[in-house]
């Protein structure tokens, strides 16, 4: 009988080399990994990422923010982030309960690629890129290209997600995140909306980003709406810009959490509220 390895490297290079040599499943916070295996023994070789401290935390440089893949939601929740990243901070505060926030990581959220992953719409709205590394090298791509479908990503088996990269925003950028569920805490989102507005010096919208999650296999930006928002003044009328046809590309499904029709209807409400909230700031 062969034995399933459990590899716990202390540095990234060792992790990548292990991953290049054998079939291993990366394990970060375990909050998606274990719940997917209730009642079953672990039948995978494991690459435990928990010692890769290099991949934890947030740093900033000329090119933008770098968010280590192993950064936990708690760390993000407590980090001193600029208003531009408020959407991300709100996600961090609303994922699961404190236990999940303490263990769960941003990288795990993206790699697990659940349609209900809260991090995805927020990071889409923030124009995030992901960085993937393997012994073969490093590549980056927009988050929208990384997540291919329900639990499918562009990650090759020998790659690790090492960081999420966020461009620097102007001084007048603000963002927010709204999540909807049927109870106060511990909700897997019925749907969620993230929005970002870049303002020019006159206070008009220079660029807008709006993303909706849990209404399609992969969270989606709403480009038509974003274009119509550009150039508008930041006032209460902004709320009225979104219309049902802006959501036409969404393909919500009916499931135990809500009906498809409700998702479509509520998505519009949440989009309006998110924009309204950004105006009120």
């Amino acid at each position: 009988m062969s034995s399933l390895p459990y590899v716990q490297p202390a540095i990234l290079a060792d992790a990548l080399s292990a991953l290049s040599q054998q079939r291993l499943v990366p394990l970060a916070g375990g909050t998606d990994f274990y719940p997917a295996r209730v009642g079953q023994p672990v039948a995978d070789g494991i690459l435990d990422l928990s010692r890769l401290t290099d991949l934890c935390g947030l740093s900033t440089s000329v090119s933008g923010w770098r968010l280590g893949a192993l950064t936990t939601w708690s760390a993000l929740r407590r980090a001193p982030l600029p208003a531009a990243l408020c959407a991300l901070q709100r996600v961090a505060a609303e994922v699961g309960g404190v236990q999940i926030q303490n263990a769960g990581t941003v990288g795990g959220n993206l790699c697990n690629a659940s349609p209900a992953a809260d991090g995805v719409p927020a990071l889409l709205a923030l124009d995030a890129q992901v960085e993937l590394q393997s012994v073969r090298g490093t590549r980056t791509m927009p988050l929208g290209q990384f997540i291919l479908g329900n639990r499918r990503t562009a990650r090759a088996p020998d790659e690790l997600l090492t960081a999420v990269l966020l461009p620097h925003s102007g001084a007048h950028t603000r963002s927010t995140f709204h999540k909807l569920g049927a109870r106060r805490y511990l909700v897997i989102s019925v749907l969620m909306v993230a929005a970002r507005l870049d303002l020019d010096d006159s206070g008009r919208v220079a660029a807008a980003a709006v993303a909706v999650g849990a209404c399609s296999e992969v969270a989606q930006r709403l480009p038509l709406l974003e274009q119509r928002l550009a150039g508008r003044r930041l006032d209460a009328a902004l709320r009225e810009v979104p219309h049902a046809h802006d959501l036409a590309a969404l393909t919500p499904r009916s499931d135990v959490r809500a009906s498809a029709a409700y998702r479509r209807d509520a998505a519009l409400t949440l989009v309006r509220r998110a924009l309204g909230a950004l105006c009120d700031e």
Binding site: S2, V42, Q99, N102, R184
Partner: protein
């Protein structure tokens, strides 16, 4: 197995509760399993293994995490604290004390997780706000308490030293005596069903049907076993001596293992027995089972239409039983009524969602005379029924089965049916080895009973003055594939269908309908929460029609002593609904006025509403005898022992029964020890259900205490009112110079070590119902009224409950802390039933798709305890366990009606359903 790889075993070292430990385990194993199975620290509970319930919360390097989502290998070199490590540190011991003082631990299954989350919260926020506490506890679910007591306990622990209430001798009744079994629930010592088993026990895992209706053929199991090392046996229907069980003798319709056919998704087909590793590694599809799937009958409609063959040959129309109460001339009265309100109401499958999944072990014990016995250790609400039923299944005498109930991590009716016990019993009996098993959360949800979904067509009529004149109720209840408690629901509901009101004309007809759905069983209220939803909605409509305030309308119609119920039973005493309503009235009127003065124009999408609902509930079994016997003994060492066969599911019977017995005997509670629920050592106290233990077993405990008192007084020829005292082994009787002393250590003791014993039995007086359901089905009734204030987001259809105020007539509150705990806990379950709980087999069999209220969903609750004494009750007490949840859902839906004008007719009223109704109303 042969071709499979196994995870490597590795040495792992870490600091555990301040001490270094080394273990050699599979590094990818869950930390929760390593703590429990390898290190024997069973204080950390496992409720889901999926991060959903938080029962397994531990503190790792100063941060709370779920031990079930952490790999053992990840804790190497780190610092871990579990509940067993809490008491070491002074402040934390204070936290545990605060839990005890506030009644924050009921069943105790969530308690270790709550304590760890609370410890983490207090470490971060030494002086927390209530909101910070809620945020900190958000990841731990509690199904018993409704959270408010837990939040209060954490705030109290932050505030300084905590004192525990003490009861003066002879004054235990009415005192806030902390749970007598509380300490073990707080330090992790308490032994729940998955916490103990013989070391050499084999593991059992059932393979369950993925189909709601199918026939199947088993292939060559012997060959399959031979090719699977570690598998000892695969049990099939042929291994079960008598393969049918059920609650009532008339319908033993449920097989232990499906015999060539299955009737619901989740029914056990075969049971694997072997090493833990081997049974859990098998994928169900690997077994040689050939399925032929049939079209299932789902829902009441299909059940009654008998689409396809009937579920059972003995019920060709798929009707298990019909219930009926008829009084007066309903059609005539409705024709003459000034106002009639009617509606069709629908409710869903609701899951008990106790935090402890079913578990236990069975052990065949050889006897010298060859008459082997079987011990079954498991979580159960009804050890004596289990014993008899297991014996029946094994075709042996009941006295050869010993049932030892574990501490039980919540029940609410769900542990009134056999679940894992017969599987374990059959395996151990056949293999002559101890066999254990633990249900996973999905398995627990799939295969155990649910609240019956109901479809009710109801009409209520009143006259011009607002006096109710007639009720017409037609209710169908989905009892699923097997009978379970279906007939109890069908028989109880008609008696309660007209609500807690005096109504001269009542026609209430029910049917329990077989379908291929989950088995409908016992769940807090046995169908009455469903029927109360219907009648309280219609009563509100009538109040509106008459132009009366909803509370005033109910006050006018509330049944009073001297009036007759729908079954013609004239209540002679303890009918406290009027008192409940009067107590709520000032706050109710103020809340309605405040809310009605709000300007919707300035509220955006938010609308406030306040709604009220009332209930009555018959305490104890419907008509059927439900006796209880309690024994109390005085030991030579000066301790008193209560032999208490009642199972404490967290509701507190182990404390309340001692309080009652102590006052009857005249000795203080702290001198008592207990022998609880071991069918070999205690007498039959009946089941812990129907809110009966305080009333029925309470009476037995009171009588037992009085009998022992009389015996002791007789020993020294003392008068009836003489004071008793115990000083070490000296029993002192009387006061001052007249004191007589008895040295207990010098007396002869019986087999149990008791020098004197008192025994008491009680069976509530009832009379059978005639063909029209007329008679006296219960000896006494609990009453209550609740109002709720809600905030509805009309654009999203979401509802937030902002405040609940409850008044319940409990006869006498033996222990006010526990009464309040039952009420708030019941309200939490009512909130769940109203707003979020709907079980769909195979789709929501986990605790993230099946939502129960979290700490953020239960608002502050004001509890008013009304004590209209029941002359038959011990010190005037009756029950409150079920009554507490019954009016909550309709109070909420009536509040939604008040806020939005939408009448809710289907539960739960999820955001999508409410929004659809709001849109429909806007169109109309």
């Amino acid at each position: 197995m042969n071709d499979r790889s196994r995870p490597a075993v590795q040495p792992i070292g870490f600091e555990l509760n301040g001490r270094g430990v080394q273990v050699a385990v599979t590094a990818s194993a869950r930390l929760s399993d390593v703590l429990r199975d390898t290190l024997g620290l069973t204080g950390t509970k496992v409720g889901c293994s999926a991060g959903d319930c938080g029962a397994c919360t531990v503190v790792l390097d100063g941060q709370q995490v779920c031990a079930c989502t952490v790999a053992a290998g990840q804790v190497h070199g780190r610092r871990l604290t579990t509940v067993e490590g809490l008491a070491a540190d002074g402040t934390l011991a204070r936290l545990q004390q605060a839990f005890l003082a506030h009644g924050a631990a009921q069943c105790g299954a969530c308690t270790p997780g709550m304590l760890m989350a609370a410890a983490d919260t207090l470490a971060r926020h030494p002086d927390p706000s209530a909101e910070q506490v809620a945020d900190g506890l958000a990841g731990v679910l509690c199904r018993c308490t409704g959270y408010r007591a837990i939040v209060a306990a954490v705030l109290a622990a932050a505030g300084g030293p905590v004192s525990l209430p003490q009861a003066a001798p002879g004054r235990a009744v009415g005192a806030r005596v902390p749970r007598l079994d509380g300490a073990a629930r707080l330090d992790g010592r308490e032994c729940y069903a998955a916490d103990e088993a013989p070391a050499d026990a084999l593991w059992l895992r059932a393979v369950r049907s993925p189909h709601a209706r199918a026939r199947f053929r088993l292939g060559d199991l012997a060959a399959w076993i031979a090719s699977h090392p570690g598998i000892v046996d695969v049990l099939t229907a042929a291994d079960v001596p008598c393969n049918s069980f059920g609650i009532f003798d008339a319908v033993k319709d449920q097989p232990v293992l499906g015999d060539a056919r299955v009737r619901f998704h989740g029914e056990a087909v075969v049971a694997l027995v072997g090493t833990q590793e081997a049974v859990s590694a098998v994928h169900d599809e690997e077994l040689p089972i050939e399925w032929s799937v049939e079209e299932p009958v789902l829902g009441i409609e299909q059940g009654l239409a008998v689409t396809g063959a009937p579920l059972h040959d003995f019920a060709p129309d798929n009707v298990l039983v019909r219930g009926r109460v008829i009084r007066g001339e309903v059609d005539e009265a409705l024709r003459r009524a000034a106002f009639v309100a009617e509606g069709e109401f629908v409710t869903s499958h609701v899951e008990h969602a106790y935090i402890e999944p079913e578990a236990g072990y069975a052990m065949r014990m050889p006897m010298p005379d060859g008459g082997d016995r079987l011990r079954v250790f498991a979580c159960t609400q009804t050890p004596y029924m289990d014993r008899d039923e297991i014996a029946r299944i094994l075709a042996i005498e009941p006295d050869r089965v010993q049932v030892v109930p574990s501490a039980i991590g919540g029940g609410f009716g769900g542990k009134l049916d056999l679940s894992i016990q017969p599987l374990l019993a059959v395996a151990s009996w056949k293999l002559k080895r101890p066999v254990r098993g633990v249900y996973t959360r999905p398995e627990s949800m799939l295969c155990t009973t649910k609240r019956h979904p109901a479809r009710m067509r109801v009409r209520f009529g009143c006259d011009r003055n607002g006096d109710l004149v007639a009720v017409d109720f037609l209710g169908d209840f989905d009892t699923g594939a097997y009978a379970s408690w279906g007939s109890t629901v069908a028989n109880r509901v008609p008696i309660h269908a007209s609500g807690p009101y005096a109504v001269p004309n009542v026609r209430a007809l029910t049917r329990a309908v077989y379908t291929n759905g989950p088995v409908g069983g016992a769940f807090r209220g046995f169908g009455v929460p469903q029927s109360t939803f219907a009648h309280e909605t219609l009563v509100d409509e009538l109040a509106r029609a008459c132009g009366m305030d909803p509370l005033a309308f109910r006050l006018r119609n509330a049944i009073r002593a001297g009036q007759a119920t729908a079954t013609g039973q004239v209540l002679t005493a303890s009918a406290g609904l009027v008192a409940c309503l009067l107590r709520l009235q000032p706050a109710w009127e103020a809340a309605r006025r405040r809310v009605e003065a709000l300007d919707p124009a300035s509220a955006g999408a938010l609308r406030r509403g306040v709604g009220i609902a009332c209930m009555a509930y018959g305490i104890g079994n419907t008509v059927i005898a439900n006796p209880s016997t309690m024994r109390v003994g005085l030991r030579r060492n000066g301790r008193v022992v209560l032999y208490n066969g009642a199972v404490d599911l967290g509701q507190g019977s182990s404390t309340v029964l001692v309080q009652i017995c102590a006052d009857a005997l005249g000795l203080p509670v702290h001198l008592f020890d207990q022998v609880t629920g071991d069918t070999d050592r205690t007498a039959d106290a009946g089941k812990s259900s129907a809110s009966r233990q305080t009333f029925v077993s309470g009476n037995a405990a009171r009588i037992a205490g009085s009998v022992l008192r009389e015996r002791l007084l007789a020993l020294v020829c003392a008068p009836a009112d003489a004071r008793l005292r115990l000083v070490d082994t000296q029993l002192q009787v009387g006061e001052g110079s007249g004191t007589r002393s008895l040295d207990l250590s010098a007396l002869d003791a019986d087999r149990n070590g008791d020098v004197a014993v008192g025994e008491g039995s009680f069976d509530p007086p009832t009379t059978p119902l005639d063909g029209d359901g007329q008679g006296m089905p219960y000896a006494t009734y609990g009453f209550g009224a609740q109002f709720a204030e809600v905030e509805v987001d009309i654009e999203l259809g979401t509802v937030r409950v902002l405040h609940v105020e409850a008044a319940h007539d409990v006869g006498r509150a033996i222990n006010p802390t526990q009464v309040e705990g039952q009420i708030v806990g019941g309200i939490a379950q009512g909130i769940g039933m109203a707003l979020m709980e709907e079980y769909v087999a195979g789709r929501s069999d986990n605790l993230h798709d099946y939502l129960i209220p979290t700490v953020g969903d239960v608002p502050p609750v004001v509890v008013h305890v009304i004590e209209d004494p029941e002359p038959l009750g011990p010190f005037g007490a009756k029950g409150v366990g079920e009554p507490a949840m019954i009016p909550t859902a309709p109070a909420i839906t009536n509040a939604i009606r008040h806020a939005t004008g939408v009448r809710v007719t289907r539960l739960p009223v999820t955001p999508d359903r409410l929004r659809a109704q709001l849109l429909g109303k806007a169109k109309a």
